[in-house]
């Protein structure tokens, strides 16, 4: 009897488990999988954008969403990222570069039917500058007359607002007055900070105007859905001025920030692109590089080690430390995305790069340990105990360990201190904390001129984390921006690079490599899904072709 009852219980239990398993296994997933060329693609935005307000957005996700749902005055096109007309059909540069007048197209429209006017831009830019909005990127407008004064105003703010050098002369003419000639101002216009917002919508919904239900946009795509931390879906706006040239009907976007999950979602066919924002997991690079869907493009960004020159004061030691680093080996064995070894700070791809940052004989890609040791011997009181501060994102520790090993040949005992991001930023300063001798960092360009990079190492730069200050260097930068001629300016930039990284260079930082952007793209869109040097993609140009046979993936 008892045996039988026990059996009943056993069966009951097993049935429960089986039932659960069967329910769990039934059904087929159809979550966003698209294989046919139906004009619908799914991409991975990677992370939740902190804001979709052009005035407040600061990260790559927001920037890419905004560039596809809003219409900029100027777009950057071609390999050189030359400024080309977008919403502004033409412009005049007057007063030796101190005034720029934009002429707007007549067919710019907001999604509610309102025309896009010069007043929209005047309103938007002044809004971003207003102290009440407290925009992080207000500094983007610094070259405009009166911009910094208004942004930092404590009283008489209205008067200061009126003095800002941006004025809508009429509906289609926008006049901008600059404090100094700014050769890269036109390139800068393509940055999302300079996009227009729709005043009635902003005023009606306040901070909630960017929600999908409220937002009014003026670009090729509309924000169809924004489920926070989950998805952002865009849908083609048929009434956009050039809608006929846009092939995609819909771009669904997931937010998968975990690199491995994102790759798995790609391999399961749930997303058609991942990595362009957020990258690919470094530990999987050797495998992913072999996939036909792997794509790699140069980025306008430099990976480097900064030196706190107050703690490592001898220039020969800094030169020796730079020469001891085998950058090619770091790229081949650790970073593994065919980055270019850097012998200067201005990254490859920058207009004028070959002049500004020519191949350096002094800093070969594989380093020069013999010369490094010679230089180290000339150091009177070498600093042999070095604290190397890095942040805890994947990949940095491995590079730090390699560098630690390379420096040990110089008799330097480097201690690696890994910190989480916010704490790491505090250690950077500027000025860096006293205990920081060397730190890992990267610099990603905002606009396409070497000024955006070289300005970092001036004495008063807010991003100079090395305590380096050389008046000769600062004077050269002033000289560079006073010449409107590109070739001449590049020559001056080249002198600045030489001052930092030449055989007699001060070496406040040790360049490692120029970044590449790595991603996985379904073969059907790989031809047309292109990233520019600023890691931005233009969805109006994406055309779905034949999916050459990875449908089983």
């Amino acid at each position: 009897m008892r045996q039988k009852r026990r059996k009943q219980f056993t069966l009951l239990g097993l049935a429960t488990i089986l039932a659960l398993l069967v329910t769990a296994c039934a059904g087929g997933g159809d979550d966003g999988q698209q294989t046919a060329a139906d004009g619908i693609i799914t991409i991975n935005w990677s992370s939740e954008p902190p804001s979709l307000d052009p005035g407040l957005a600061t990260d790559t996700t927001s920037s890419n969403v905004l560039n596809n749902i809003m219409d900029p005055l100027v777009k950057l096109e071609g390999e050189n990222l030359a400024p080309t007309p977008a919403l502004a059909e033409s412009w005049d540069v007057l007063d030796g570069g101190k005034t720029v007048v934009f002429h707007l197209r007549s067919d710019g429209r907001w999604t509610n039917g309102d025309p896009v006017t010069a007043e929209d831009f005047e309103y938007s830019w002044k809004r971003t500058l207003s102290p009440e909005l407290a925009a992080d990127y207000a500094y983007q407008f610094s070259s405009i007359v009166g911009a910094d004064d208004y942004n930092g105003c404590e009283k008489n703010c209205d008067a200061m607002r009126d003095k800002v050098g941006v004025e809508a002369v009429d509906d289609r003419t926008l006049r901008v007055t600059l404090a100094n000639p700014t050769p890269w101002f036109l390139q800068q216009m393509a940055h999302h900070s300079f996009l227009a917002v729709h005043q009635p919508t902003v005023e009606r919904f306040g901070e909630k105007w960017t929600e999908a239900a409220n937002i009014v946009t003026n670009g090729p795509f509309q924000l169809d859905a924004w489920e926070h931390n989950s998805r952002i879906d865009l849908v083609k706006w048929d009434e956009w001025r050039n809608a006929a040239d846009v092939s995609l009907e819909r771009v669904n976007g997931r937010m998968i920030s975990e690199g491995t999950t994102a790759v798995q979602a790609f391999e399961a066919g749930e997303v058609d692109e991942t990595g362009a924002i957020g990258g690919l997991p470094p530990e999987e690079m050797p495998r992913l590089k072999e996939l036909p869907e792997y794509e790699q493009t140069p980025s306008l960004a430099t990976y480097y080690y900064g030196v706190n020159v107050e703690n490592v004061p001898d220039v020969n030691q800094r030169r020796a430390m730079a020469l001891a680093i085998d950058r090619q080996s770091i790229i081949d064995n650790i970073a593994q995305a065919d980055q270019l070894p850097a012998s200067g700070f201005t990254p490859s791809g920058m207009p004028g790069f070959d002049t500004i940052n020519p191949v350096s004989e002094f800093l070969p890609a594989a380093g020069d340990i013999v010369r490094a040791k010679e230089l180290m011997e000339q150091v009177e009181s070498p600093v042999t105990d070095i604290t190397l501060v890095i942040n805890d994102a994947p990949g940095h520790r491995e590079i730090a360990v390699a560098v630690q090993d390379m420096w040990s040949e110089l008799g330097i005992d480097a201690k690696i201190e890994q910190q989480e991001w916010a704490q790491f930023l505090e250690a950077l300063g500027p000025p860096p904390t006293k205990t920081t001798d060397v730190y890992r960092n990267g610099w990603v360009g905002d606009f396409v001129d070497a000024y955006n990079f070289l300005e970092l190492w001036t004495c008063d730069s807010g991003n100079n984390n090395s305590n380096y200050c050389n008046e000769e260097y600062d004077a050269l930068l002033q000289q560079a921006i006073s010449v409107p001629d590109d070739a001449e300016r590049y020559e001056t930039y080249a002198q600045m690079e030489e001052l930092l990284f030449g055989p007699e260079g001060d070496m406040p930082i040790l360049p490692i490599y120029f970044y590449t952007n790595v991603s996985l793209q379904r073969e059907s869109i790989k031809e047309t899904f292109n990233l520019n040097l600023l890691d931005q993609f233009d969805l109006t140009k994406v055309v779905e072709g034949d999916d050459s046979g990875d449908e089983d993936a």
Partner: protein, 311 residues
């Protein structure tokens, strides 16, 4: 019973005040600036604008007082990093996901764990017992992030066509299966072991022998007399575990890209988003307090002696 619940609820107030105080102090002790999110430094005047906007330039006691007032008027304030979003929005939009994930994981843990433990106890030292306990031990020992990765690899990728589970997200019911299993496996194993242990002990009790001697049906003895008493330790453990499943699922949310509050919690701590950290800490502490309260009430139902002692 009502008096007991009211008293317990009343005592949550000082607990929440203490939680707010410690979170407030600790968050401000660690280095970091909520407005600096990248290697770009925030210019001084812009930093001032931001501090002014979010009231961070007030003295700490003013900020603290404002915050406490906010909590008790159910206004948890704006996020410092996610511009234009309030902590209330985040809780309203994302807490349901975490609650559902935690609830499903708990359901899986209880529905599978308790019967498994019972089976093992009833057939102690049999092959079935050893197999069940082997898997329980393994399930208990493997961390959830590894379980999650393995589940995705096998059930969404390798055999994705057969099972039809997506790798990530929280939309269709299929997408909810793997995360719930990954999160619930550890507690399931724990419940199974716990049930087995207490069940074995209960079955040795005199009153079970008495029940048997009186000729009661075995099924009734197990279901009514043994199970009920065996469940008391399970219930004790279930309260904190439920709290943990709802609040501590950030690893699973991260791996499966589930838009729950756990994901926000971690991003907020690393990004120094003070108001989000505070708001979510208060919310999570309330959940743990409530879970424990529910456990105490269940005690009363399962064991009348404790009920009498309290009222």
């Amino acid at each position: 019973m009502t008096a007991f619940i009211v008293r317990r609820l009343f005592w949550t107030l000082p607990v929440i005040l203490i939680v707010i105080f410690f979170t407030f102090v600790l968050m401000r002790q660690i280095e970091g600036n909520p407005f600096r999110t990248s290697e770009r430094n925030v210019p001084e005047s812009i930093q001032q604008n931001l501090e002014e906007k979010f009231g961070l330039n007030d003295p700490w006691y003013v900020q603290y007082a404002k915050y406490v007032k906010g909590v008790f008027t159910l206004d948890l304030g704006p996020s410092l990093v996610l511009r234009g979003r309030d902590v209330n929005d985040i809780v309203r939009e994302h807490f349901p996901e975490s609650l559902e994930l935690g609830g499903l994981a708990m359901l899986f843990a209880l529905v599978v764990g308790i019967p498994l433990g019972m089976l093992s106890a009833l057939r102690a030292n049999s092959f079935l017992d050893y197999t069940a306990m082997f898997f329980s031990n393994v399930g208990f020992a493997i961390p959830s992030f590894l379980v999650a990765t393995l589940l995705i690899y096998f059930f969404a990728l390798q055999w994705g066509d057969v099972f039809g589970f997506p790798t990530s997200g929280w939309t269709t019911w299929q997408s909810k299966v793997l995360p719930s299993l990954a999160l619930g496996l550890g507690p399931m194993a724990y419940f199974a072991r716990l049930t087995r242990g207490t069940m074995l002990e209960t079955l040795q009790q005199d009153y079970i022998r008495t029940a048997k001697a009186k000729g009661l049906r075995w099924r009734r003895i197990v279901a009514v007399h043994a199970l009920r008493n065996s469940l008391i330790p399970v219930v004790t453990a279930a309260g904190p575990i439920l709290g943990f499943l709802i609040t501590g699922s950030f690893i699973i949310e991260q791996i499966f890209a589930i838009p729950g509050i756990g994901r926000y919690y971690v991003t907020a701590v690393t990004g120094r988003d003070y108001s989000v950290v505070m708001g979510l800490t208060v919310l999570l502490s309330i959940i743990v307090i409530l879970a424990n309260l529910v456990v105490d009430i269940l005690y009363g139902i399962l064991d009348p002696r404790t009920r009498e002692a309290r009222t």
